[in-house]
């Protein structure tokens, strides 16, 4: 696990992509999305948890995700988000851009993985 000093604030613009990717496995409420991002990055990506909600609401307005109130695992009322078809398309586009970016940076840094 990365040390506290190595943790990175989430890069601007990537939060949408991470939230969309997290929702690919099924509907989740905001708290679960934040936890899952942190778990999957093994604690490296430090999200200011509150900032996730404006991103979720923005994507909801754009139709990338849909929201519905339901009961959480602790039997409490919570707002669940689910990926829509438009969101899946958006995720594909964002992932492609991200991969190009990583590849380009890898090329500059000399760490690019050789393509088959």
């Amino acid at each position: 696990m990365a040390s506290s000093n190595d943790r990175s604030d989430l890069m601007q613009g990537t939060l949408d992509m991470l939230a969309l990717r997290t929702l690919r496995s099924g509907p989740l409420h905001g708290y679960a999305i934040a936890n899952k991002i942190q778990e999957c990055s093994e604690g490296f990506l430090r999200v200011e948890e509150g900032s996730l909600y404006p991103a979720l609401h923005r994507m909801e307005r754009r139709g990338w995700i849909a929201a519905e109130w339901g009961l959480s695992e602790s039997r409490r009322k919570a707002k669940f988000y689910e990926l829509t078809d438009a969101g899946r398309e958006q995720l594909k586009a964002k992932a492609k851009t991200w991969n190009l970016l990583v590849d380009a940076i890898g090329g500059v840094m000399g760490t690019r993985t050789a393509k088959a």
């Binding site: 905001g30 708290y31 200011e48 509150g50 307005r61 009322k77 919570a78 829509t84 078809d85």
Partner: protein, 250 residues
């Protein structure tokens, strides 16, 4: 959650929730997050106070985030409401301005109509009123000295006048200015046909008009009327208007 796609589509079209409901939903969602994080922190062994403080710190600026969410969900609607209110205010102002303009125009019209009515009333007023230089003004000093008709031939109101009568005469109570007269018709049909030159007799009090009369006809003649005031004395004082009517026998 199978219907979430359609819900999203509907909300993009028109969100049926009120602004207050949206505010409450945002508050509830953010509170849920804080409470879940506090609960997890308690499970890690923190005290209640520590757990809450750590959850709040990790969450970030609650007020700012709530405002951002609100702007995201209802900002457009609030802007539209403000725009709508602005348009309504502009519309009301326009209505008031148009109303005021119409009111002013109507008032101006009323004033103009009143003036026209006054003019018409003056034109249609009684001979005495018509002769007065202006309505509502005290009569001039010469009013008492103006010439007046004392006799006519045929007599006023006569109904058995001989159609062979060849002249009409009007006599004033004083001498008149020569070659000045106003024999005024009420209508062409009721005015006698002229048969010669109008003239004064030697006494300068009686003016004569040669005529050809028709049997069974009612004649109407004004001596001075409205703006026709040429029966006057040598000092220029117009005679008081006088109406003569008579009927010839059949």
């Amino acid at each position: 959650m199978s219907g979430l796609d359609s819900i999203a589509a509907q909300r993009r079209v028109a969100d049926p929730r009120s602004i207050r409901e949206i505010d409450e939903e945002i508050q509830e969602e953010l509170n849920f997050h804080l409470e879940m994080r506090t609960h997890d922190n308690l499970r890690l062994g923190m005290t209640q106070v520590e757990a809450r403080a750590a959850a709040a710190e990790r969450f970030g600026d609650f007020v700012r985030i709530r405002k951002t969410c609100r702007a995201m969900l209802v900002g457009e609607r609030i802007m539209l409401q403000r725009l709508q209110t602005g348009l309504i205010v502009i519309l009301l102002l326009a209505v008031v301005a148009i109303g005021y303009q119409m009111f002013s125009a109507q008032r101006a019209n009323q004033v103009a109509l009143a003036e026209v009515s006054a003019q018409l009333a003056r034109l249609n007023s009684t001979p005495a009123e018509a002769a007065a230089p202006s309505r509502g003004v005290a009569p001039p000093a010469w009013e008492a000295e103006r010439p007046r008709v004392v006799e006519t031939f045929p007599a006023d109101g006569a109904t058995d006048v001989d159609p062979a009568t060849s002249e009409i005469r009007v006599t004033f109570d004083k001498e008149m200015a020569d070659r000045n007269w106003s024999w005024v018709q009420s209508s062409p049909a009721s005015f006698p046909k002229s048969a010669g030159d109008v003239h004064y007799l030697a006494d300068m009090k009686t003016c004569v008009m040669p005529v050809e009369l028709e049997p069974g006809t009612k004649y109407v003649i004004w001596f001075n009327r409205a703006q026709y005031l040429n029966f006057k004395d040598p000092e220029g004082r117009p005679a008081e208007p006088h109406l003569l009517t008579f009927t010839t026998r059949k």
